[in-house]
Amino acid sequence: MPVVVYHPGYASYRFGGEHPFSPVRMEMVLDLLRETGNPVRPVEPPAATDEELLTVHTARYLEAVAAASREGGAPSPVFGLDTPDNPILPGLDEGARLVVGGTLHGARLIADGEARQVLQLGGGLHHAMPELASGFCIYNDLAIAIRELVSRGLTVAYLDIDVHHGDGVQQILYTDEKVMTISLHESGEYLFPGTGWLHELGMSSGHGFKLNVPLEPFTEGDSYLEVVERLVEPALAYFRPDVLVVQAGADAHWCDPLADLMLTTQTYEKLFRAILDFAELFTGGRLLVTLGGGYSLRATPRVWTILHLTLSGLPLFDELPAPWLERWSAQLGDDPPARLHDPPSPYEPIPRWEEINRHNRLMVQRLQDAVSMLWL
């Protein structure tokens, strides 16, 4: 059973109104687990300190975040704060520090040998840069946690299954040979942040340890899982990390309103089982999983519930309980889902699927060619 890290104060990491990055997503997961007899008893982490945030961010950025999130605070568009993507509400700084504290606490539990697997029910703020809030991310909890693991003498593989490129984590750790980053995402041609190309392989001693697969829009589950099998598994087999850190954004689901990949809940279940297998095979089971993007309230709570049940080795239930459907009817909208898994063939067939699969296979082939000279 994984240790679950969560704090009710994560709810202060919010952007208000109709903003898609909403803490209601975690509340829906916790409520669904409770309602189906799988209640979560989380460990509550401490908030991250200045010292911990400064392992990745700069002092003037910390000051700007603190100033912007005080009542009547000063906006800092230069730092990406108080923009339409990252509006600032009072208390955001405190919420962000708790979220970072959660991922960091999870990393420490693993480094101390107190836990093998940790599920952080929050975080995954992979776009945040040392001095820039970006794409709903204020502080980069992942990079801070990974640096902590590295400072304990551990090597880390970071797998990012969010539909957007994990640009912040990659950039912060770009020259670090103790960290392999692997990001699978919809191509930057079409999607924010516009990076994550094949040629981004790392710099200086980190060269060859940063991997990116830009996927075609409308990529389906089978092609996605083929990429995981052909690229992720050999990469981990080569690198043999001490810990596997996973950003488990759920926005590659076909329902997601912000992106165009076509994963189903069934794909996610297979993906989560593969990740568990990778941890058993390559890291002695040491695995830290965070949440991330995921903006369909019909899909994201189901994907993350499947994540929790799969990591816990618990059986998946079938029907969504009526009280849960009732409590969240406003979030689930008209025609709410009836079951934990998607129905069979939930969307219209993708006419270009053969071309899409061929393209994705070619991306993996090219990446393998590029690293074959480096992985000796």
């Binding site: 923009t83 339409p84 993507d85 840069m129 957007h164 079409y190 924010f192 942040p193 990076t195 912000l258």
Partner: protein
Amino acid sequence: MLVREIMHPDPVTIAAGASLQEAYALMQERGIRHLPVMEGGRLAGIVTDRDLRLATSALSPSPFPPDTGLAEIMRRPVHTADPLDPVEVAARTMRELKIGCLPVLEDTRLVGIVTGIDLLDAMLRLTGVHRPSGRLEVCVPDRPGELARLTGLLSSRNVNIQSILSYPDADGNVRIVLRIASIDTRPLAEALCGAGFDVVWPPHHACR
């Protein structure tokens, strides 16, 4: 954007009395392809890795020996840029003359060098791809006021524009390429379509 913002200050140089061999070694050591050649503290010529390879090639009917002085093969006069030239002027000079670099002179003093790679860096900054952003491309009629209408709509949604470029397309319309500091370009694409704009990127969210 001016040449002085993109140039390399204090470029590596070599004396006119040095040999081809020495120029080659210096290029290898510093990982560069262009060497301004100096004589009496002034720019006297320029030599590139290609000049060295052609001058010494075994395929040449009369190759220069490695100890030849640079003055024998260097190019002169040298085409140069001023630190206050706009980058597009430097780009046009290099394109028209088909050359790979411009030493930058302030009066007669060598203060920098600009190469084709620096111009590519400039292009990356001008297109806004160096910051996290999403791409939008809109096709508008070639007439006054279209850009104002477009930016007005973005402004009303409090969206920050990272970069904006335009170019004429083959049909006599104007393509406007925007990079937007936002994770989600599609509500914008929809709003633009709704306001009568012809959105052509992202392609699968295009109006037509």
